[in-house]
Amino acid sequence: MVIKVLGSGCANCKKLEAHAKEAVAQLGVDATIEKVTDFKDIAAYGVMRTPALVVDEQVKIVGKVASVEEIKNLLK
């Protein structure tokens, strides 16, 4: 599974990335977490609010720092 954190490096993006890592660790799933910081690439997902979370090329979360629990639910 490939998880991408979309955001230009703002504080919230880092928080979301940390939450995603935590969720992956807690679930023990096999996933790589990537960061997408280029606006062009972010916009290519149709995302207009950062941070956003993309799981296997599907936009799952837009414009908010989702909690670890929320992300766990998405990954299950």
């Binding site: 703002c10 606006f39 916009a43 609010r49 908010k64």
Partner: protein
């Protein structure tokens, strides 16, 4: 009728202007600190404490209400709605939706690319980009609290007019080729946005309050500090000479000083209030506030990543000239408002 007017005035004085707080802080300064509110030091302390508490209360309440409303209008939805309108109607709607769509300078780029790649006319996107930081319900209620209903209404209306006209001019100038090439290469993608539950909206609104206070508290203290200094320490004559009504360049100066500054309306209002009390023209003050909120260095740097220098220069010029015209117009017709 009389009773209703009185009730309305009482509500406005106590809830929006928070006269009770002023009186309370007055008591604190006089009884606890043993200072006279009418004196310099006491007056400054009163201004500082009263304005700080008042702004933080207003900020929390207003951001909460506004974020709740904004949660109904994510940019994805705005994009869809705007796609259905052409011409000046699109500009008008862009300006109006700019007031309710959540915005910060860090999201201006994704929004710009998203709107443009969805095929929205450039002018509509710019109407949105001008009105979004300039006018929202928070600025309206805040202005009403400090300056009264008439000035607040006038500010919102001219702000929207500026957004519509600015966007229309950019549209007419056919600036498409001055958008960075890669923006057109981005494919149009519609993200499905899910409707939130009321609880999620409340959570979102609470989160926004926390986030915004975290981001702006320093600016507010700075703003109130400068306001307190203007209020009690800088002589009226000095202020009058620099930006008083007799200086024909006052509006120009206020706009130029305001533009590079990056702050939102909550940080500028205490300065505006202090200047107002010193007899500075309302147009000069509005130009300053609009300059601070509409244009800032960080947002220009952001925009320079998606539009070429010529379009950026035109955008800045239109907004600047618009703000200056608004300032002079408000000063000329200030008798209507005060």
């Amino acid at each position: 009728m009389n009773v209703i007017t009185q009730i309305f005035r009482w509500l406005s004085d106590q809830l929006l202007k928070m006269k009770w707080l002023s009186d309370l802080v007055g008591l604190l300064v006089e009884k606890v600190f043993g200072l006279e509110v009418t004196q310099r030091v006491g007056g400054s302390i009163h201004f500082f404490i009263y304005d700080t508490i008042k702004i933080f209360i207003l900020l929390s309440v207003l951001i909460f209400i506004i974020s709740y409303i904004q949660s109904f209008y994510p940019p994805e939805k705005t994009k869809k709605i705007l796609g259905r309108f052409k011409g000046i109607k699109g500009n008008l709607l862009g300006a109006l939706l700019g007031t309710v769509t959540p915005f910060c300078s860090c999201s201006s780029i994704p929004i710009f690319i998203g709107f443009t790649s969805a095929g929205l006319p450039l002018g509509v996107t710019f109407s949105f980009l001008i009105s979004s930081p300039l006018v929202d319900i928070a600025s309206f209620l805040l202005l009403m609290s400090f300056f009264g209903l008439k000035i607040a209404l006038a500010y919102v209306i001219v702000g929207l007019v500026l957004a519509v006209i600015g966007g229309t001019i950019i549209d007419k100038l056919k600036m498409q080729k001055h958008v960075e090439g890669y923006v057109w290469g981005v494919k149009k993608v519609d993200v499905e946005y899910e409707e939130l539950t009321s609880k999620e909206r409340v959570d979102f609104a609470k989160g926004q309050v926390r986030e915004i206070i975290n981001k702006v508290w320093l600016y507010i203290l700075l703003g109130v500090g400068i306001g307190a200094a203007i209020h009690n320490w800088i002589p009226q004559s000095v202020i009058e000479r620099i930006i008083g009504e007799n200086n024909p360049l006052a509006v120009l100066l206020a706009t130029v000083v305001g533009i590079p500054i990056y702050a939102d309306i909550f940080g500028t209002i205490p300065i505006a209030e202090a200047l107002f009390n010193k007899g500075v023209g309302i147009g000069t003050i509005i130009s300053f506030m609009m300059g601070v909120t509409a244009l800032s260095l960080p947002s220009m740097i952001m925009l320079s990543k998606v539009i070429k220098p010529k379009l950026l220069a035109i955008f800045i010029s239109i907004v600047t000239i618009g703000i200056i015209i608004i300032g002079y117009a408000f000063n000329a017709f200030s008798y209507i408002f005060i």
